[in-house]
């Protein structure tokens, strides 16, 4: 039996690190980082098992979440320069920053690159799984669907699509700007097997990942995670403009304090 508190600790750690890092400049894509912290905790604890496994972040704006998940491999003081002039840790990261597999800020491009990695891994003999996080806004980009065609056509079962469905994009609710629903039916129509889970229920996330990682799967798999921007910090969850948050230092301090006191075990 796995120790479930490990993913819980990891998710809390991702949130705390993201808050700490963001507090230095006082503004960040913190809503997204908190929103996918639970998904990333499970992927990094459960999914990424060998050096052949890769995590591809398609929406570059979520870079802070990825940095926080990989924080052990960075110098923390350097990480805290996030978003500042000259920092290695760009807000929308470019490929080549340690842990960053693709340049993803021009949205909708990560899934194709993940598909290329999956095709390459399979052609080389099959080792390694590719986990690709995409956002629901990216479903408005045609390339995402071109990628789904290819993933399905080539039966890339070593690629797992992780959709963050937070329902928000720059200009407001995705449903009001350009509705992408019904997403599950669309993925199914493209030939992917789909599972839909609460993106903040760690047990459900783990179970869905294990299903997706089953070597007996015949079709590639997408997991739709229903998430909330800013999850874990009510002030950010209820922010008037959750896409990009700028806040005074006491807000960041309160948020950190809240997470430090979150019951984990």
């Amino acid at each position: 039996m796995r120790n479930k508190s490990r993913t819980r600790k990891r998710a809390n750690s991702i949130r705390q690190i993201a808050i700490q890092v963001a507090s230095y400049s006082g503004e960040a894509y913190i809503g997204q980082a908190l929103g996918v912290a639970d998904i990333l905790a499970c992927v990094f604890e459960l999914g990424i098992q060998t050096e052949n496994d890769r995590f591809v972040l398609s929406p570059g704006h979520y870079g802070l979440a990825l940095y926080a998940a990989n924080a052990d491999s960075y110098d923390f003081a350097e990480l805290c320069t996030y978003g500042k002039d000259g920092s290695v840790f760009e807000q929308s990261p470019v490929e080549g920053i340690p842990g960053v597999e693709v340049t993803g800020g021009s949205l909708g491009q990560g899934l194709s690159q993940a598909a290329g990695l999956a095709l390459g891994a399979r052609a080389r003999g099959g080792a390694g799984r590719i986990f690709c996080l995409i956002s629901d806004g990216e479903l408005q980009e045609g390339q995402t669907w071109e990628a789904c065609l290819a993933i399905s056509h080539h039966k890339l079962t070593n690629l797992i699509v992780l959709l963050d469905r937070n329902g928000v994009q720059v200009d407001g609710r995705t449903a009001s700007i350009l509705n992408v629903e019904p997403v599950a039916a669309k993925f199914t129509a493209f030939g992917l097997d789909v599972e839909e889970v609460d993106g903040h229920d760690l047990d459900a996330i783990e179970a869905a990942l294990l299903n997706a990682m089953d070597p007996a799967n015949i079709n590639p798999r997408a997991i739709i995670f229903n998430t909330r921007l800013g999850m874990g910090v009510p002030e950010f969850e209820n922010a008037s403009y959750p896409h990009y948050i700028s806040a005074a230092s006491e807000v960041w301090e309160r948020a950190l304090h809240l997470l430090q006191n979150e019951p984990i075990d």
Binding site: V94, E95, G96, E101, V102, T103, G105, S106, Q109, G110, L111, S112, Q113, A114, A115, G116, L117, A118, L119, G120, A121, A123, R124, G142, Q143, E146, A147, L149, A150, H153, H154
Partner: protein, 321 residues
């Protein structure tokens, strides 16, 4: 209420005739010697001479269909997996349809992906849709991208070989029809560099690239017949641009003509002008190029007449006072 019945038509697609060409030969040869070379098509495989490779190396060929944005992304992923992808389709589709994908996935962290664009400039009769008159400008504007416009089979093969060995992306224009071999002396089979053709120190001078070099040589032949001596500097690599060779060649002249199968702005003319303007060489540089308008539909010869790029027009330009 109209009831729609779903019916199937048996579409007969004739088996593709496998065309052997200088390009298919170089792919086959690289397939033998380089285990990591893979070829990706975006439909059109039968028209871009990749079928011999596909037949010989079926595990290293993928037809990604008409989805160029995804095609480039997957090529990038394959490159990250240790492969050397050669992406082959029409120049218009690689450069225009997937410009941001090329920029983001191939040049922000440069990868040795080879992009081969067929039907360059006015070598296709479909007006605008299949005429990449702007591809050198587009690809040349991207950091780390190498851009090559070969003029004959040997140069196309050399460009592909050299691109496969590069850790950076390369865009190569590919002429489908065999061209007369350039009259190059002392050729190095791996070479793809600027070379002076025709007379040494001619009284008239052209600088040209790609199919434009064939046109410049035609114009030079006409001018020679009327008693002139003519030098042609052929420049196959547009980026990185061989500025020293250009400046050295231009130095003795007060007037030169650039010849290219591309629009003048963002192409060879702009590059030559930019190289020369800061040197103090007082040369007038006249463009023989595709004008700032979509060329008409038709054969290459017809279009050349319509837009003033015949050998006669180019020769006249060289004599313009």
């Amino acid at each position: 209420m109209i009831s729609l019945s779903i019916y199937q038509v048996n579409v007969i697609v004739p088996p593709a005739k496998i065309i052997m060409s200088a390009f298919s030969d170089v792919l086959l040869s690289l397939g033998e010697t380089e285990d990591n070379v893979v070829v990706l098509a975006g439909d059109l495989a039968r028209y871009v001479d990749v079928l011999p490779f596909a037949e010989q190396f079926p595990d290293r060929f993928w037809n990604m269909g008409m989805a160029e944005a995804n095609l480039i992304g997957m090529a990038s992923g394959l490159a990250k997996s240790g492969y050397k992808p050669i992406v082959v389709t029409y120049g218009v589709f690689i450069t225009r349809r997937a410009f941001d994908q090329v920029a983001m996935s191939l040049t922000t962290a440069p990868k040795g992906v080879v992009l081969v664009g067929f039907l360059p400039g006015i070598t296709c009769r479909f007006r605008a849709t299949h005429q990449p008159i702007d591809d050198i400008a587009l690809m040349g504007s991207l950091p780390s991208m190498t851009v090559v416009d070969p003029a004959d089979d040997r140069e196309l093969q050399n460009a592909v070989r050299s691109a496969v060995n590069s850790s950076h992306p390369t865009y190569i224009r590919a002429l489908r029809d065999a061209q007369p071999a350039l009259p190059v002396r002392n050729e190095n089979p791996q070479d793809c560099r600027s070379v002076v053709l025709g007379d040494k120190n001619g009284d008239l001078a052209f600088i040209s690239t790609g199919l434009g070099t064939q046109w410049a040589l035609e114009a030079a032949a006409l001018l020679r017949a009327s008693g002139h001596t003519v030098s042609v500097l052929h420049v196959p690599v547009l980026k990185p641009f061989d500025r020293p060779a250009i400046v050295e060649f231009c130095e003795p002249y007060s007037q030169l003509v650039t010849v290219e199968n591309h629009i003048a702005h963002g192409g060879l003319h702009a590059a030559v002008a930019s190289a020369v303007v800061s040197t103090g060489i007082p040369a007038r540089i006249l463009p023989a190029a595709i004008p700032d308008a979509w060329p008409p539909s038709g054969s290459t010869d017809f279009i050349r007449k319509e837009i003033g790029l015949t050998a006669e027009s180019i020769a006249e330009l060289a004599l313009k006072v």
